[in-house]
Amino acid sequence: MPERTAIAIVEDNADNRLLVVALLEDDYDVVEFEDGTSALAGLADSGARLVLLDISLPGMDGSAVLRAIRADPALQTLPVCALTAHAMMGDRERYLAEGFDGYISKPIVDEDVLFETLKTLLARD
């Protein structure tokens, strides 16, 4: 059996983390982080090949975490997908312009969109 791909979720809301785990656990190993600081400390050793990153995080927000990932030689090529309830008109465009590799809005109304996005981003590297 081939080794499973690990995906990191950075999310402060426990319900939302649980939902992502429930959705992904059949196909992926899910590594959980509750905030940006612990994610930046643990991502390199986690083996995660993709990050699902919330925006409204305590302390460092998602945009700041993304900049830190891009500035870190060990992490900078990691695909980062925004997973956020910031979903008003123009938000998708804004986060993609900030450098996120993908954007999924919360609530997740169709998990197939999530799976497709993950596959596309994982196939990229």
């Binding site: 319900d15 939902l19 429930a22 309830a85 008003m88 008109m89 609530p107 997740i108 109304v109």
Partner: protein
């Protein structure tokens, strides 16, 4: 000097009193006007009684005008008597041989100087006023003598001293003209008045020649406008932030409601009661999400925060795309896009797509049999997209109100057909923003046509 013309005033007052007593009411206005002018003359030249009696004449009740005029005449005679032997004219050198035309010219200029509503003055380079017109006293309250008794800089606000010194020293170099310089002047009642200056110098006579205008009220109005604008902008920012926060906070719990119900549905038999219940949780969650989205979009538009990206949009391609994406919802209906004439319009494709999704979605929802077709065509005004259906139709008396929020033609239809009741008002708001017209015609039982009408100025010549 002005007082030399006081005898003329005597004659004018007498004439006006005669006019008035002769039954012609124009004499009244004339008397009040003379009273007003003499009040100013009295203030400027230090005749307090003249000021008082001039003011009394200006404001006297109609029946007391003749007696007020009489009092003023008596005072005038006294002033004329007292000044006869007094100072020679400031403008006219008494020792010169007097040319009558020149005297008239000088008097004319003097009258202009005295009556000007602007503050006119000359001042010597040593920093003292020389000539001042009555407007100074009107604005600042100081008499001419009080203003001339001290260096003029002493009347200037401490915070404006440096700028004022700089401005006057630039003027004295001769290469500079003051236009629009503003500083504050202390008035006799202790308040500060803003004066806006136009000034130059007379090199030969070593004097400043300046004109100032009292802009205190103007500046107060500007400041109030600026404050109101800032307040509005700050309220608008606050509303924007509030909307973004609301959006985020309302969406977050729905993530669990929708997400977990979907996961559970996969774990129960598809036809079970439990699957039914879970489906209802999910569908109501989705419905709530749509309501939230629509309300927030509407609020954002109303707050003026919707940004448009205007570019040429091929309406045929857009309509085909939207029709394609709704194909799955068309059931057994004949559902098609028709292009009578190709049209390219300058608009925001994403917003127009939202409008079309809503209109076509409605047409499909309210049509159980027959046809829904979307037609792109030219018309007299420019071009239009018609969404035509053979659905239930809308009674004429409801047609006007369907664009209002939370209104469906029949309240019971929302139970039958669903929908947030916000789609059309949102579409209407989008269309207004895009400069296109959204209108509807309908016949109950026969169907409806919803049209997006583009005025000619938004059309792009396909050339």
């Amino acid at each position: 000097m002005y007082v030399e013309r006081l005898p003329e005033r005597v004659v004018e007052i007498q004439a006006a009193v005669d006019t008035l007593l002769g039954g012609d009411s124009s004499g009244e206005a004339e008397l009040r006007s003379i009273g007003h002018q003499l009040k100013g003359t009295g203030t400027s030249f230090g005749f307090p009684e003249l000021t008082e009696l001039g003011g009394a004449l200006e404001l006297a009740p109609s029946d007391q005008l003749p007696s007020a005029a009489k009092d003023l005449l008596d005072e005038l005679e006294r002033v004329i008597e007292s000044t006869k032997a007094d100072t020679p004219s400031m403008e006219i050198d008494a020792s010169q041989e007097i040319d009558e035309t020149k005297v008239h010219e000088a008097l004319h200029l003097q009258r202009f100087f005295d009556l000007s509503l602007e503050l006119l003055c000359t001042a010597s380079f040593d920093g003292y006023f020389k000539q001042l017109n009555p407007a100074w006293t009107e604005v600042l309250g100081w008499s001419r003598e009080e203003l001339r008794a001290r260096p003029f800089i002493e009347f200037v606000h401490p915070d404006d001293l440096e700028a004022t010194d700089l401005e006057t020293s630039k003027l004295t170099t001769g290469a500079h003209v003051t236009i629009g310089f503003e500083n504050r002047w202390r008035s006799k009642d202790g308040s500060w008045r803003w004066l806006r200056w136009t000034a130059t110098i007379d090199h030969e006579r070593q004097v400043f020649m300046a004109l100032a205008r009292d802009v205190t009220e103007e500046r107060a109005t500007e400041a109030a406008l600026r404050a109101a604008k800032e307040e509005a902008e700050s309220a608008s920012r606050a509303k924007s932030t509030f909307l973004a926060t609301m959006s985020h906070e309302l969406r977050t719990p729905l993530n669990s409601v929708i997400g977990f119900s979907r996961i559970l549905m996969r774990a129960v038999p598809p036809d079970s009661k439990e699957a039914n219940y879970l489906g209802r949780i999910r569908d109501n969650g989705l419905h709530l999400l749509h309501v939230i989205n629509d309300i927030l979009d509407l609020s954002k538009i109303e707050a003026g925060h919707m940004e448009l990206v205007l570019e040429p949009v091929d309406l045929e391609a857009l309509v085909a795309d939207v029709v394609g994406s709704l194909r799955g919802a068309s059931g057994g209906l004949e559902f098609r896009a028709v292009t009578e004439q190709p049209v390219t319009a300058r608009t925001d494709g994403a917003r127009l797509r939202q409008v079309l999704l809503n209109l076509i979605g409605n047409a499909l929802k309210f049509t159980s049999e027959g046809r829904v077709q979307v037609v792109v065509r030219h018309d007299d005004a420019g071009a239009r997209i018609d969404v035509e259906d053979t659905g239930i139709g809308i009674p004429e008396h409801r047609l006007a109100s369907i664009f209002e929020a939370f209104t469906q033609a029949d309240p019971s239809t929302s139970r039958q057909f669903g929908g947030t009741g916000l789609g059309l008002s949102l579409s209407q708001a989008f269309c207004e923003h895009l400069g296109v017209e959204l209108c509807a015609t309908s016949e109950v039982g026969a169907g409806s046509v919803f049209s997006v009408v583009f005025p000619a100025n938004l059309l792009v010549d396909a050339g």
